[in-house]
Every structure is written in structure tokens, then in C-alpha cells.
């Protein structure tokens, strides 16, 4: 679909969110270097158009579930970046009070059912959310994001089957960045992902995930089908992964040329700027202003996170149950 179908403000918002994700991730990578963000994290940089294009089709109360690489989906679904940054720093003001960390950011008020440290585990959970929507008659839809590697976990296939026979209002978005950790997808995946979903009679759409407009259009079709009671759709979205698998990955299994070409040729932000410029819909200066705005917001998030207290020691054993004894 053409960029023209989005209003000027929508376009600016799309850009802002993509830019926000990109810079959030770049900043997280930089802050990892300070040692102040504990552990490791999986960065979504390069894949922004997928999360943003899909979530732009969603209502506030629609559900999404994410993966270990969850920051982009969270931001696109509207989770507050201050709370996310604080969560990464392990602070009490984090989205999960500092108890979850990068791989478990969840915000049910935004319909965000959680990043997930277990590959493919979000798929059946999202079927459950879709079932809730269906049985409660709310008209909500649910989106399960997953990677190419996740396609080889059995529960993914089980979820396709369940979603189809129960005609759930769900969209499976397979973000194919060509790698599961350091292993190339071609080395471990037989056949075709779209044919896998189609073998359950689930309609599929293959999309260029560096073009937010294509993603938006495909997601629109899927969401419309889901809301109309037409059951599941699977989107196979091709995306680049800018960093290594995780923040500590030297990524030597890809050649420097290959990585340079990826960043040069497969950049959703550059694509977007070019596309809107071609049709003179948004001024370059306006996007530059967004860049600055984003920068400031991220600065604020980092400063606030650094200033926030760690969780109280009592938090260690609370929230295991609603009520135990």
C-alpha cells in the first residue's frame, strides 16, 4: 500500500516510533558498555518496521506477545520507555519493578503479554489471549511475534493448528532475520515457512520488513480477517538484524562486507525518509526534529533510570503468588 494512505501525523508517528526503537537499542548497547545495565540483552535494531507496521494496525486493547528480542515490540505497542529503561537497569521503577529484566518486560495495560526467554513460548499464550477475546466477545485481536528460529520449535506448529481449528483472532508474525543466535536459518530450517503455515490452511503473506508500509498493509489484511472472525494469518517478515544475537556477541560469523551492506541497503528508517520525501508528505526538517525529540526522551529515560532506586529487598519474595498462606 502506498504511503499516501496514512495521514501526515500518522506518518510522523510511525517515524517517531521506529526512530525511538532504533535509538533506544543503540543507547542500550552503549550503556551496556558502562556495566550499569546488568546481564545481556537482545537488540531489535534493524527490525523496527515490523513491530511498528504491525502495531499501527492494533487497538490499544489488542494483545501482543514478544520474544527475547522484545524492546521494539513493547515500544511499538505503547509501553512507556522510561519504565522500560528502568527495567533494564534493574530498578524499582521498571515496567516489572526490576524483577523481570529485558526478557520479561510485560505491560498488560497496554496489551503487552510479555517478552519471553523461551523461544516460541509466546505463541500458545497468545492463542489463549485470542481465545479470551473470542469468548468474551471483545473484538480484540492478538499478535504473536516470533523469530525464524522459533519456527522449528514444535509448539509453534501446535499453535498454528490450535489457532486454525478454533478460528482464533490471531496473527503470527514471523520476523525472519536469517539467524537463530549464530546459526543461519538455512542451515536448520527445511522447506518454507509460509508453506508450513499454509499446510494448516492458514493464509500467509510474505513481506519486506524494511518497508513499514508493506508491513502495515499486510498486517491490515490480517487484522481485518481476525476481527471479522476469519481466523489466523501468518506474516513472514524479512528483516535485518543489525547487531549480533545479543549485546555481547562479536558477530564474526557474518562478514564485515555483509554487515555493512545490510546496514546500507536494508534500513527501514532510510527507506521511510526516502519514501515520504519522494511524495513530499513530510518535510525532512520535521523528521530531523523528531530525531532530536527522540534523543531527548531517551536521555531523560536513562537519567531517570540511573537515578531510580533498586527494588527493596523485600521484593525478593513478594509476587510469587497473589496469596500463598
Amino acid at each position: 500500500m502506498s504511503a499516501l494512505q496514512l495521514s501526515h501525523d500518522e506518518l510522523v508517528n510511525v517515524y517517531r516510533t521506529m526512530r525511538m526503537i532504533r535509538r533506544f537499542e543503540e543507547r542500550v548497547m552503549q550503556e551496556m558498555g558502562t556495566g550499569d545495565i546488568p546481564g545481556n540483552t537482545h537488540l531489535y535494531a534493524g527490525q523496527e518496521a515490523s513491530a511498528v507496521g504491525v502495531c499501527l494496525q492494533l487497538r490499544d486493547d489488542d494483545y501482543i506477545s514478544s520474544t527475547h528480542r522484545g524492546h521494539g515490540h513493547s515500544i511499538a505497542k505503547g509501553v512507556d520507555i522510561d519504565s522500560m529503561m528502568a527495567e533494564l537497569f534493574g530498578r524499582a521503577s521498571g515496567t516489572c519493578g526490576g524483577k523481570g529484566g529485558s526478557q520479561h518486560i510485560a505491560d498488560l495495560r497496554k496489551g503487552m503479554l510479555g517478552a519471553n526467554g523461551i523461544v516460541a513460548a509466546g505463541a500458545p499464550i497468545t492463542c489463549g489471549a485470542a481465545l479470551s477475546a473470542k469468548l468474551l466477545g471483545t473484538g480484540q485481536v492478538a499478535v504473536a511475534f516470533a523469530g525464524d528460529g522459533a519456527m522449528n520449535e514444535g509448539v509453534m506448529s501446535e499453535s498454528f493448528n490450535l489457532a486454525k481449528i478454533w478460528m482464533l483472532p490471531i496473527i503470527f508474525v514471523i520476523e525472519d532475520n536469517g539467524f537463530g543466535e549464530a546459526t543461519a536459518n538455512a542451515h536448520v530450517s527445511a522447506g518454507s515457512f509460509t508453506r508450513r503455515a499454509e499446510s494448516y490452511d492458514i493464509p500467509t503473506i510474505e513481506v519486506d520488513g524494511t518497508d513499514v508500509f508493506s508491513v502495515y498493509a499486510a498486517a491490515g489484511e490480517a487484522v481485518e480477517r481476525a476481527r471479522a472472525g476469519g481466523g489466523p494469518t501468518m506474516l513472514h517478515v524479512h528483516v535485518p538484524r543489525y547487531y549480533g544475537h545479543y549485546s555481547g556477541d562479536p558477530d564474526t560469523y557474518r562478514t564485515p562486507e555483509e554487515k555493512a551492506a545490510m546496514r546500507r541497503e536494508r534500513d527501514c528508517l532510510g527507506n521511510f525518509r526516502k519514501r515520504v520525501k519522494d511524495v513530499s508528505l513530510v518535510e525532512t526538517a520535521e523528521l530531523d526534529a523528531v530525531d532530536e525529540e527522540v534523543e531527548a526522551a531517551i536521555d531523560r529515560a536513562v537519567s531517570a533510570a540511573r537515578a531510580a532506586p533498586f527494588p527493596p529487598m523485600s521484593a525478593l519474595t513478594t509476587d510469587v503468588y497473589v496469596k500463598y498462606l
Binding site: 510485560a106 519471553n116 500458545p124
Partner: protein
């Protein structure tokens, strides 16, 4: 009060709560039996007849016969619990938890904690457990030690029809994920069960029999075995007290400690395998907290460290017997 079977007690709880709360739904394999076939609907009433009549009463949207995909439908149940429903999902035999443990252990059990307390997961996973049905090694395990080990889960193991109903109602109303275990060999046992609804709180042990010489702690079906042992002991002039914890997580430590303090001699009977089992768990607790009150070592009567065999003579020997309990009790009384 009416005499009812364990099966019927469970069935009543399900009927009652589904009638009361429209958010309660059920899913599992052959929950009804005959789905999609041409003959009798609800032909099985569930693999063990526990869910009979629910399809008729609540329809196929709320009573969902699933594909053989435990990971998918347990996960779906967890996701539905996270988003406003109160699902009851059935794993036909608890042994099959091996194909869906992730959704129980890493997902449902941990949502609330990982999400900083900003979620709840009112999920009940029902499953049958236990030896005695000549079904071989993969359909007879107890496995509750595994669930008891996992923070975030509650583990319920009723031993009587009365408890089965009250504990199941509590499980469905509970806001945390509950593993509800039903011993296959208990379904036909009969006891008094009120017609109306009632709940039994978790973490409250039941004193199944009063006595002063030895305390027998028994889990699930082993309460029956303990009762038989107590009768035999009584014949020898030994008075045995029996405590049924009813839930292993939470565990009613107070009652166990109180009775241990008073009686000073303890035997724990548990059908599960012994290593890292519930018997050892309770023993460690009592041996620590009641050190001075203990007059003799705590004795554990459990299954051996082996899978469940098929041959009837071996399977019978596998299951803790009343005689073994008597022997253990006598050994510490004589001491």
C-alpha cells in the same frame, strides 16, 4: 449428607463453578469424547468420566475438546488466564507434563513474579496420577514433587471425595496457578459429600485420625494406606494419628509441627519416588524444627527409586503398603 464418589464430587464442583462464573472454561483431550464423530456426544464424559454432562450444560465454546498438543493448550490456558478467563486445563495423565512443562514451570508459574506482581494467572491444571492401574511406566507416575519444587505453583492432592470437591472449588476460585492431582485409583471411592458448594482453604492439613503414639503423614491415595496401617497398629495396641496435608504447596507447616511436637514419632507415606520427594521434604522440615521433640528418627515409606513396573506383583510391591507403614511405625515405637 449424601454418599458420593470421588469422581462425582469433582463433577459437581465443575458443574457448580461453571454455572456460577462464566469466565470458567475447560480444555483438554476427550474432555467429552466423541467430538466430531457421528455417534453419541459426550460419549466418554472425559477419559475417566469426571467431566460428564458439562458439554450439555455449558456447550462446546466453554468445554473444549483439544488436539493432542499439551504444550499448545496448556499455554493457551495460561494466556487465557492472563487475560480474563479462569481456565481449567486437563492433562490426561500427569506423566504427559513432560511435553508441556515449560508452559507450566516457566510461563504460568512465573508470570506474576517476572511481571513484578502486575499480573495474575488463575489457571487450574487437572491431571490424574499414581500407580495401581497396570498401565506401565509412562502412565503411573506421581510427579508432584516436581510441581511442589516449582515456586509460583500450588499443588493440591485430595484424598477423599469431600476434600476433592472443596479443594477443586477453591482451586478454580484461586488467583494463582494450581496443579490439581487426582489419583486414578480414588475415583471410585465413596464418601460423604454435601450437595452445595464449599471451599477448603489451601495450606490447611486435615487430621484424618487422632492418635498419640505415632504420627503418620500421608499424601493423596496414601491416606487410605495409612488408615489401613492405623487399624493394624491399633490391633497391636498402638495409637496412630494420621495427617493429610491436602496441599503440598502451600504446606501446612504449623499443624505438622504441632503434632510432631506432641507425638515425637513420625512416619511419612508417599507414593512418589523417594529422591527429592515430598516425604523427604516434610521430613527435613520436621527434623529441623522439632529436633528436641523427636523421640526417634523420622521414617519414610515411599516407592523405590525405580520406574513403575507393569507386572501386577511388581506394581503392588512398588506401591507403599500398609504393612510397610506398620513396620516403620513399630520400628520407631519399639526404639
Amino acid at each position: 449428607m449424601a454418599q458420593k464418589s470421588f469422581r462425582q464430587a469433582l463433577n459437581e464442583a465443575l458443574h457448580f463453578e461453571m454455572g456460577r462464573d462464566p469466565r470458567v472454561i475447560m480444555m483438554g483431550e476427550d474432555l467429552t469424547g466423541g467430538a466430531g464423530a457421528n455417534g453419541v456426544k459426550d460419549a466418554w464424559g472425559g477419559p475417566f468420566g469426571v467431566t460428564r454432562g458439562l458439554l450439555d450444560a455449558f456447550g462446546p465454546e466453554r468445554i473444549r475438546d483439544t488436539p493432542i498438543s499439551e504444550a499448545a493448550f496448556i499455554g493457551a490456558a495460561a494466556g487465557a488466564a492472563l487475560t480474563g478467563l479462569r481456565p481449567i486445563a486437563e492433562i490426561m495423565f500427569v506423566d504427559f507434563a513432560g511435553v508441556c512443562l515449560d508452559q507450566i514451570m516457566n510461563q504460568a508459574a512465573k508470570f506474576r513474579y517476572m511481571f513484578g506482581g502486575r499480573a495474575k494467572t488463575p489457571l487450574v491444571v487437572r491431571a490424574t496420577y499414581g500407580a495401581g492401574s497396570r498401565s506401565g511406566s509412562q502412565h503411573t507416575q506421581a510427579l508432584y514433587p516436581i510441581f511442589t519444587h516449582i515456586p509460583g505453583l500450588k499443588v493440591v492432592i485430595p484424598s477423599t471425595p469431600y476434600d476433592a470437591k472443596g479443594l477443586l472449588l477453591q482451586a478454580i476460585r484461586d488467583d494463582d496457578p494450581v496443579i490439581f492431582l487426582e489419583h486414578k485409583m480414588l475415583y471410585d471411592t465413596v464418601g460423604e459429600v454435601p450437595d452445595g458448594a464449599y471451599t477448603i482453604p489451601f495450606g490447611e492439613a486435615r487430621v484424618a485420625r487422632d492418635g498419640k503414639d505415632v504420627l503418620i503423614v500421608a499424601i493423596g491415595r496414601m491416606v487410605q494406606v495409612a488408615e489401613e496401617a492405623a487399624r493394624k497398629l491399633a490391633a497391636e495396641g498402638i495409637s496412630a494419628c494420621i495427617i493429610d496435608p491436602r496441599t503440598t504447596s502451600p504446606l501446612d507447616e504449623d499443624t505438622l509441627l504441632e503434632f510432631t511436637e506432641t507425638i515425637g514419632r513420625v512416619v511419612i507415606v508417599d507414593e512418589a519416588n523417594p529422591r527429592c520427594g515430598v516425604a523427604a521434604d516434610i521430613s527435613a522440615l520436621l527434623a529441623d524444627k522439632c529436633f528436641d521433640a523427636l523421640k526417634a528418627p523420622i521414617k519414610l515409606v515411599t516407592a523405590p527409586h525405580s520406574p513403575v513396573p507393569y507386572a501386577p506383583n511388581l506394581e503392588d510391591a512398588y506401591i507403599p503398603s500398609a504393612d510397610a507403614v506398620v513396620k516403620a511405625a513399630t520400628s520407631i515405637i519399639k526404639r
